[in-house]
């Protein structure tokens, strides 16, 4: 364990980032167990408890009885602490699943394009190029306008935004690897194309993509937050971090900072720690790096 940590990074900041990320992930996973309230269950909310400042103890007549609002409450009477935990859950789900889907899809297409070349390559790369020439947020906006709201929908939209990026990275890796003699040897040994693609080409194209995708989780999360902030993507009854920030925004002027502030902190913490950890991952996965 100690050794693993040393291999990861000797620097305090990197270790802190890893620790923060672990805490956030565990908190998100355990949200239903540790949060005082289910912020998505309207029966547990009391509008009379709306916009309470942090630390208020309110004994209202909700189903759960009186409680302490450590981080305050939003305009619907949601406990901010619970809302943040559930929001983290949504952010991570959306970020991870859209990235994994996009990775699997983009990687497969990229490998096929790079390995076979010809019209497959042309077709895949044209589509990817067109898609990458539009800003991601624009594509996501258009897609969500068509698809409507919901977690599944936003995952779809973020998947569509990301895959082209992986396809392009995978293709350029495959183009380099394909020319190497181990692929020639595998062909000569009469191995099936699928085996060559997945047992030989894929493992050698994957490492750069893993780092990219770790970083990409962070950007997917921030994109989701942006979309929610703009009021599309997730329904108002199930606020994610972005939506919480957006709700709180209108009350900032009157001094009710906490509705925006605490979710904002959580979001920044999540994104920064993912970025730092991914950055270390790049070096850890490339032992030959130190040599050059």
């Amino acid at each position: 364990m100690r050794k693993l940590l040393d291999a990861y990074s000797p620097h305090f900041a990197d270790r802190l980032a890893l620790f923060a990320l672990l805490v956030l992930v565990v908190a998100a996973l355990a949200a239903p167990l540790i949060s005082p309230q289910n912020p998505y269950d309207l029966a547990q909310l009391n509008i009379a408890d709306g916009r309470l400042p942090p630390g208020t103890h309110a004994g209202s007549d909700t189903a759960t009885g009186p409680q302490h609002y450590w981080l305050g409450s939003d305009d619907q009477g949601r406990d901010m602490f619970s809302a943040i935990l559930y929001g983290l859950r949504i952010s991570l789900t959306v970020g991870l699943s859209s990235t994994l889907l996009a990775l699997a899809f983009g990687l497969s297409l990229g490998l096929l394009a790079g390995y076979f070349g010809g019209w497959i390559d042309t077709a895949v790369m044209r589509i990817a190029d067109i898609q990458l020439s539009f800003p991601a947020i624009l594509i996501a906006l258009v897609l969500l306008a068509v698809l409507g709201q919901g977690v599944g929908k936003i995952i779809t939209a973020l998947f569509a935004v990301q895959w082209a990026y992986y396809a392009r990275t995978a293709r350029s890796a495959a183009l380099v690897e394909r020319n190497k003699d181990y692929i020639a040897a595998a062909r000569l040994l009469g191995l099936s194309t699928w085996r060559i693609l997945f047992r030989h080409l894929l493992p050698n194209c994957l490492p750069p993509l893993i780092v990219v995708s770790a970083l990409q989780v962070a950007s997917a999360i921030s994109l989701e937050a942006t979309l929610s902030f703009l009021g599309i993507g997730l329904p108002i009854t199930e606020p994610s971090l972005g939506l919480l920030i957006s709700t709180g925004f209108q009350y900032l002027m009157v001094g009710d900072y906490w509705i925006s502030f605490f979710p904002g902190i959580a979001l920044v913490l999540l994104i920064v720690s993912i970025n730092l950890v991914a950055d270390r991952l790049r070096d850890v996965l490339n032992p030959r790096l130190q040599k050059q």
Partner: protein
Amino acid sequence: MTEPLPVLDVSHLSTHFATAKGVVRAVDDVSLRVQSGQILGLVGESGSGKSMTGFSILGLVDPPGKVVAGNVLFKGQNLLTMDPERLRQLRGDRIAMIFQDPMMTLNPVLRIETQMVETLQAHQSISRSLARTRAIEALADVGIPSPAERLSAYPHQFSGGMRQRVAIAIALLNRPDLVIADEPTTALDVTIQGQILALVQRLCRERQTSLIWITHDLSVIAGLADQVAVMYAGRIVESGPVQSVLAAPLHPYTEGLLGAIPALHERGEPLRAIPGATPSLASLPTGCAFADRCPRAFAQCSVPLGETEIAGDAGPRRTRCWLHSPVPAPMPTIQR
């Protein structure tokens, strides 16, 4: 008579790899010395640690490998304890290595022009166009035809031997004082090899460059080197002036090696390979590692031994063999 300060003085160097199957002793108690302008030939069994010796000298051993003992003095400075940044500066400038695998030098996604110009500009402040001219000259020196056109090609567009020559050209770009050449001519035909050997001979003569030439080609050693060292299973088993070692080897391994050369055989008859297999470097015997395969092994061979110095016609020779140990060791109690 005091010898001048050697350019490279390696003493008791050991490099080990910790693996799941035990400690691999890739380099074990190796001592070498190269004078200015001198050429040392390093030969030995495949997998005996020749390349690893070169990597250890330059501080290029990848983890889990580690230099665990010894000193490496380059013009009096210890490279093993040197600040990594300064060592990096020395490498590619004053000390260069020609890697066995040319793709360790060449980046597959860069044109060789980029790589050569960058190598020059990293250690000298010269203009791009001058660097380009120097690069073209360097390619012509190693016998690459149409060097100006080839400059813009990628490594995979070269033949195996041409890649090797490009790597040689890059290593020699900054005119280093010490070159460690790891099997640099394995893919070259005799004429081109002659061209390369002429080039390095000129460097040694005119610029007093010192050279460690790792190779399996004993005829190149015979024609090129001043001194030769023979490695087996991580250790140097014999070293000395080329003429004495090749004419009258002291160690039975060297003898076996010289006996396996095809030219000494009738066409088509089986070649006399040394019988037996190389011992695993993770479980070497305590005594001589060659004893199992040695036609002249005797009981003494299982006792650990150091190097013995023997006077020779052309200069001192050293070997690691009980046959040539001046002190008769006490009789061992266990029979082999």
